[in-house]
Structure formats: structure tokens, C-alpha cells
């Protein structure tokens, strides 16, 4: 948690990369991806629910664990939409807003999502006592987010460059900082990062690994890969590349439609329809980074990912790209076991 108590009371939490930060910023709030460090709870939720949702609920039920003006819960998956139900019923001091996100990317779904975003923009200032959102404030917020996206694009480019030795762990830390920092502070941090990364070095040849998957909330898996002698050259996760890929059109006649288009058509999370598109994207990430292998991480009980894995694993095997699937429980309590698998996987690539 960062910032003073006053600052935190201007935070609006969100739970998914499909929630446009632009709308939160335009209403005068600070967007913060909610990644609580609380151990999961089973008291209010079925045990076979993913650790992320359980951890959010645990933090929320301990009211001191959530200091924010409100939270936006996206319809990311079955567990998230039920999290919203439980939040509205049992966590009343912090208001929750629901954002319905289609799983399709056709024109009608984009229009439907734009209408949802308009609704969110109308409710957010009222429910959370924020600033009314108009086209000008939304465009200003869009420019701010696009600037961050462009800067992060440079970071990811430096990370995958064969001429740099930017470690995946450092990039991961930067991405994690981006989930909580104010945009101006974050932009300054990225610039400092890029200035340091600009110094050309000749890195030793080590296995180059893409870390892909759903939510990877802790640096330890990246650190384990790099400790084993490899370098994480791309972070294809919802806190990494996929969060920053592609700008929102700034001068579009309808800014909500522009937001809807960007968010629905950005490289998709496993929640979306379109396995083939996801395969093409991850393959491109691996090709662009000259990767020697892919480590795919997913949360235990994440249906969206777990259904994809067998076919994804088979396809990458057929393409000659080694693929390792790791499951975690959000707290990464099984990291020792994962370490052995990571070490064996990297050893085979050396």
C-alpha cells in the first residue's frame, strides 16, 4: 500500500486489466490494482475459488485492509462476478461498482461495452463522490495513460533486446509499482529505469524465457527463473505486456467507443473467446523476444486458464517451443516445489 491516508481515500481499486484506468483518473481518483497480501479465506466463499478472489475478500472483510474510496469489480470470470455479490452484501463501507465486460470483440460487443463504460462513468462520480466526467477530462486521462503505455513499450523493448541485460525481475518490479503509483510518479520511475537501461552492455548468452499466463502477482517466480540461470525477456501477463499493449485513440469522436475498442481488442486474457488469437499473440511475443521457452503461470482454480493449457501446451510443443505450466495459489505457498520444476526446465534449455 502506498501514499498517505488522505491519498488512499482517493484510490479507486480495480480487480482486472479490463477496467479502464482512464475513467478512474477522469473522475479525479487514483486507480490502484487491488493486490492484497492477505491470506485467503474460505469462510465466505467456496474453497475451490481462486486465491486472488479469496484474498480480496479476506482483505475486504477485515475493513482495515481496504482503504479506498471504492472498488470496481469487472465481470472477469464466474468467481469475480460472485465476488461483487459478496462485496455488496458483506463489505458495505467500501462501495463496489460492477463492470460487465463482453468476452467477444465484434463491433456489437464493442458498442455494448462502450455503453457499459458510459454507465460506469456516470455512476463513479455519484457513488464515490468524484468529479463529473466529461469528454475533456476523459481525453486528458487517455493521453496520460497512453504516455505510460508508450514508455512501458520502451521498457518491454529494452527487456527483450539481445543487447541489454535488463532483468525480468526489475521489469516485474516496475510493473508492480505501476499498479499502485500515481501516474506522474510512475512515469518518472519509468524514465529513470529507461535511462539506466540505455547503457549498452553485452549480456552473457543465457536461456531466454517468456513468462506468460494470467495474474502473476509476486516476483518470486521471475526471480526463480533468473536464479536458475535464465533471463525473463517478456512478461506476457495482465500486469505486464497485456496491460500496456496498444494505445487508446485520443481524438476519436466518441471517447467511450475508443476506450471500449482498445480494451476489448488488446491482447486477450484467457477469459476472452479466441484461443487462436491468444496463441498467435503469445507466439509473436516469444518470436520477437527470441525466446527459448515459455513458462505459463495460472492461478489454481482459474477456469479461464486451466481450460487453455492442454491445447496451448500441445501447440507450442508442435512448434518446437518448450512450454512449462505452473499453478500457484496467489500466495505462492508452493514456491519450493515450483523451483525444482523451473530449475529442471531451465537446465534443459542451457
Amino acid at each position: 500500500m502506498t501514499g498517505t491516508i488522505q491519498e488512499r481515500s482517493r484510490d479507486v481499486l480495480y480487480t482486472c486489466s479490463y477496467v479502464p484506468e482512464e475513467i478512474i483518473l477522469a473522475a479525479g481518483f487514483r486507480p490502484r490494482r487491488f493486490l492484497p497480501g492477505r491470506p485467503a479465506t474460505d469462510a465466505f466463499i467456496h474453497p475451490n475459488t481462486c486465491g486472488y478472489v479469496k484474498s480480496i475478500l479476506a482483505a475486504a472483510l477485515d475493513h482495515a485492509g481496504v482503504q479506498a474510496a471504492g472498488i470496481i469489480v469487472a465481470n472477469s470470470c464466474d468467481a469475480m462476478r460472485r465476488l461483487y455479490d459478496l462485496w455488496t452484501e458483506y463489505v458495505r463501507p467500501v462501495p463496489a461498482l460492477f463492470l460487465d465486460v463482453p468476452k467477444k470483440t465484434d463491433a456489437d460487443s464493442i458498442a455494448m461495452f462502450a455503453s457499459e463504460l458510459k454507465g460506469l462513468a456516470a455512476r463513479l462520480p455519484t457513488v464515490l463522490s468524484g468529479r463529473a466526467i466529461d469528454s475533456a477530462s476523459l481525453r486528458a486521462a487517455t493521453r496520460t495513460c497512453n504516455e505510460i503505455r508508450a514508455l512501458m513499450g520502451e521498457v518491454f523493448s529494452a527487456q527483450r533486446s539481445a543487447q541489454s541485460d535488463v532483468s525480468g525481475t526489475r521489469v516485474f518490479d516496475l510493473c508492480l509499482a505501476g499498479t499502485t503509483q500515481a501516474t506522474t510518479d510512475f512515469a518518472a520511475d519509468i524514465r529513470r529505469f529507461l535511462a539506466e537501461a540505455a547503457v549498452e552492455r553485452r549480456p552473457a548468452r543465457t536461456p531466454r524465457i517468456v513468462l506468460a499466463g494470467g495474474l502473476v502477482n509476486k516476483r518470486n517466480v521471475v526471480a526463480e527463473i533468473e536464479k536458475a540461470g535464465a533471463r525473463v525477456v517478456a512478461l506476457d501477463t495482465c500486469l505486464g505486456l497485456r496491460h500496456y499493449e496498444g494505445p487508446v485513440e485520443e481524438d476519436a469522436p466518441d471517447p467511450f467507443l475508443a476506450l471500449a475498442r482498445r480494451y476489448l481488442t488488446k491482447p486477450g486474457c484467457a477469459r476472452m473467446q479466441g484461443f487462436e488469437e491468444r496463441m498467435r499473440w503469445t507466439k509473436k511475443v516469444a518470436d520477437d523476444a527470441g525466446a527459448d521457452g515459455i513458462v505459463f503461470c495460472s492461478l489454481k482454480f482459474c477456469d479461464s486458464c486451466v481450460y487453455d493449457v492442454p491445447m496451448m501446451s500441445e501447440r507450442f510443443r508442435d512448434l518446437g517451443i518448450p512450454f512449462l505450466w505452473l499453478e500457484h495459489d496467489y500466495e505462492w505457498s508452493g514456491i519450493e516445489q515450483l523451483r525444482s520444476r523451473v530449475e529442471a526446465f531451465i537446465e534443459l534449455r542451457q
Binding site: 465466505f44 466463499i45 467456496h46 475451490n48 475459488t49 478472489v53 465481470n75 470470470c77 464466474d78 468467481a79 462476478r81 460472485r82 465476488l83 461483487y84 455479490d85 459478496l86 455488496t88 452484501e89 458483506y90 460492477f98 460487465d100 463482453p102 468476452k103 467477444k104 456489437d108 460487443s109 458498442a111 455494448m112 455503453s115 457499459e116 477469459r271 473467446q273 484461443f275 487462436e276 489454481k300 482454480f301 477456469d303 479461464s304 486451466v306 481450460y307 487453455d308 493449457v309 492442454p310 491445447m311 501446451s313 500441445e314
Partner: protein, 402 residues
């Protein structure tokens, strides 16, 4: 193997249906015959989630609807799901994947399922169904379609769903080489409206104490019977069940009943002791959430809007509180003393709401049991644990009465 099982089922139920006039036998016979048609040469098969997608649209085409989940359930009933699930697991599908979906994936890998022309599912009820539909589409090399149903019911969402339904209708026509026929759709909607009336009659009859029907048959029919929505078969089945209930009430041939309970979500398809224990303890289940009616009659002259609203008003779309709306009144009307949530481990959308359901029941002053059991995988079943939990629940019902 599946077709052999279906042929046996078709023969056995044909005899029972003719000799005893059993509505259950009639239903199972219709189901077996429908499934067998999917394997006949030249038939156009469309995979569809019958309990979620408006089946009236398919009824307007010369196609055989095939629901991969309901068929997995049937495989579970007939003891054929485990080899299919093992096949899926051997190909990397985690045991955390819903057993219905593992069975469907395995059956497809084993080439037990018929070849589809097109695959259609919906964004409600669960994520896993949409994922499985897409994977099956890839395995069969056919297009898979998703009907996205938003959480809110408003002008935009109705228009959005309506437009998708029109697009899907067009795509079915293209896939099977047949133009959409408005008159046939109109007739299918009219048929559904008639079936809705007999459904209401059944709901009234189920208020009778002791219950004239219920338990596993009611729950299974409430879900699987939807495969026939929009056809005269559904009308005939509803009428047959209503008539049988009426007959039981009039003749007094009713099971003894000490307690009446409500049932949330699904039921175990394999041989288990759940309903046997309830019967032993004289507990009836005269109502389940999947048998309630949530939408109005559909205007046959403007079917797409009505069908869109039917999808949008589904209690498994939107907030979990939709599942508890009107529940207190229902509990009183049907004199229900408690409720069971059947919680199959992979079903996040149903299970994650259990606290809401439990607390709603508590507010009505009724006990609630979350019965953790797999829906289709008997390898995780423990008869002893199930008995302990159910008997403790029945004790609660009894204590509450005294």
C-alpha cells in the same frame, strides 16, 4: 459405446413407456431417440447449451440439437463418463475442470460424439462451458459461437442480445444450408408458450402435500427437458408429467412426507445415495430453482425480443441475488422447511454464491446445507460422508419442527 448405450436406453424405455404409460420413460425414450438421430447419416447436428440458449430457434430448422453437457450427464448415468474423463485427463485436462466438460472433451477425443455443423453456447451460466464449446469447435474443425448475455436488463442489452440471436439464426441457416423460416420460428414460440402453461400447472400441483412428484426426476427434467423446448415433444412431456401428478393426487398414491425442501443447482448423475436417503427419511423435494419460471410468454410475432429477454432474465445471469428473489414467498407457498445447494467442486458460478443463499435461508428461518459432491465423477464420491451430512441436515429439520 455411447450409441450402444443409447440403443439399449431407447429399447428399454419404449417398453416401459408403452406398458406403464410412465412419463419418465416417455421422456428418456424421446431423449435417446433424439440423440440417436444425431448419429444417422445425413443429419445436420448443432451443438447447443439447451438449458441456456433459446431452443425455439433451433426448432425452426431441420437440425438435431446436441448438448455436450447433458450428454455427458447421460453418460454419467449409464456409467460411461469415467473412461471419457480419463481420456481428457490423459491429454492434460486438470481434475479441476468440470467433470461434464472433461467427459465431453474425452468423448470427443474418443470420437464418441457426433460431428457438428456448428457449436453454440452462451456466456451464462459458466466460463467453463464457453471454453469447452470453443475447444470442441477446434477439435471438430467447426465454428463455435457464443451468445453474450449481459448482466443488466435494459434497452441496450435487449437490443444486443436480440441482434446476436438474429445473427446466430442466420449462421445456423448458412451452416446447415437452410433459410431461416419465420413461420416455423413462430410455431416454435407458440409451442413454448403452451408448454409454459402446462409448466405453470405442474408448479401448482407441486404445492400439494404430500408432493405428487419431485426429487431427482424433477431436477433432471427441469434441466434436460429444455432440450425439447419449442417442440411438441416438450408440450407432450409436460402434459404427461402433469397428468401423472394429478392422477397420484386423486388416487392418493403419494409417498409419505415428513419434510419438504428446496433444491439449488444441479444433481449427481451417477449412482449415489442422496435421494435414497431423503426418501428413507421421508423428505421430499417438490421444487428446485431450475424449475421456476422467470420470464413471460413470448410474443410470437416478435420472437427475438422475447427470446432475448428470456436469456437476460435467467437467474444465473447478473447478480447472485437474482437466485434468491422471491424465495421467502416460495418457501411459504410450497411449505418448504429448508434447502440444499448441490455444490459440484468446479461450479464456481453456483457455489461462490453459497453464503448469499445460506444467509437468505437463515433470514427465512430455514436450515441450509451445502452438499459438496461431484456432479459426474463417481471417483470422488463417498457414500458414508454423504449420509452423515444429509442425516445431520434431516435432524435439523426435525429439531426445528419440535
Amino acid at each position: 459405446m455411447l450409441t450402444t448405450m443409447l440403443e439399449t436406453m431407447e429399447q428399454q424405455t419404449a417398453v416401459a413407456s408403452q406398458e406403464r404409460g410412465s412419463p419418465m420413460a416417455l421422456w428418456l425414450n424421446e431423449w435417446a431417440r433424439l440423440l440417436l438421430r444425431a448419429y444417422e447419416p445425413g443429419r445436420r447436428v448443432v451443438y447447443v447449451s439447451a438449458y441456456a440458449f433459446p431452443m425455439e430457434i433451433l426448432a425452426a430448422f431441420d437440425v438435431v440439437p446436441f448438448d455436450f453437457e447433458l450428454t455427458s450427464g447421460l453418460m454419467g448415468v449409464m456409467g460411461g463418463a469415467v473412461p471419457a474423463m480419463e481420456e481428457a485427463e490423459n491429454r492434460g485436462y486438470s481434475p479441476d475442470v468440470c467433470a461434464f466438460h472433461r467427459a465431453a472433451l474425452g468423448a470427443s477425443y474418443l470420437e464418441e460424439f457426433p460431428e457438428p455443423e456448428l457449436l453454440i453456447t452462451t456466456s451464462h451460466y459458466c466460463d467453463g462451458k464457453a471454453k469447452t464449446n470453443e475447444i470442441l469447435g477446434m477439435l471438430h474443425g467447426r465454428e463455435s459461437l457464443l451468445l453474450q448475455v449481459p448482466a443488466a436488463v435494459n434497452k441496450e442489452s435487449v437490443r444486443y442480445v436480440e441482434k446476436q440471436l438474429r445473427d446466430i439464426t442466420r449462421k445456423i441457416g448458412e451452416a446447415v444450408g437452410q433459410s431461416p423460416d419465420h413461420d416455423r420460428l413462430k410455431a416454435a414460440v407458440r409451442s413454448s408458450n403452451r408448454a409454459r402453461q402446462s409448466h405453470q400447472v405442474m408448479l401448482e400441483l407441486l404445492k400439494h402435500r404430500p408432493a405428487p412428484w419431485g426429487g431427482s426426476e424433477l431436477i433432471a427434467f427441469s434441466i434436460n427437458g429444455l432440450l425439447f423446448s419449442g417442440t411438441e415433444v416438450k408440450e407432450r412431456l409436460n402434459d404427461a408429467f402433469a397428468l401423472a401428478m394429478q392422477d397420484r393426487i386423486e388416487s392418493g398414491r403419494l409417498r409419505p412426507e415428513k419434510h419438504r425442501i428446496y433444491w439449488f443447482a444441479w444433481l449427481p448423475v451417477y449412482d449415489s445415495n442422496v435421494f435414497e436417503i431423503l426418501k428413507e427419511r421421508e423428505v421430499s423435494v417438490p421444487l428446485c430453482e431450475t424449475f421456476r419460471i422467470h420470464s413471460d410468454e413470448i410474443d410470437e410475432d416478435d420472437p427475438f425480443e422475447g427470446l432475448a429477454l428470456q436469456c437476460l432474465r435467467n437467474p444465473f445471469v447478473g447478480p447472485g441475488t437474482r437466485r434468491t428473489e422471491g424465495l421467502e414467498e416460495i418457501m411459504d407457498d410450497y411449505r418448504l422447511e429448508g434447502a440444499i445447494l448441490f455444490a459440484t467442486p468446479a461450479c464456481k458460478q453456483a457455489n461462490t454464491a453459497y453464503t448469499l443463499l445460506r444467509d437468505t435461508l437463515a433470514r427465512c428461518g430455514r436450515p441450509f446445507l451445502m452438499l459438496d459432491m461431484d456432479i459426474c465423477d463417481p471417483r470422488n464420491y463417498s457414500a458414508g460422508q454423504t449420509r452423515t451430512r444429509l442425516e445431520a441436515f434431516v435432524e435439523l429439520l426435525e429439531q426445528r419442527r419440535h
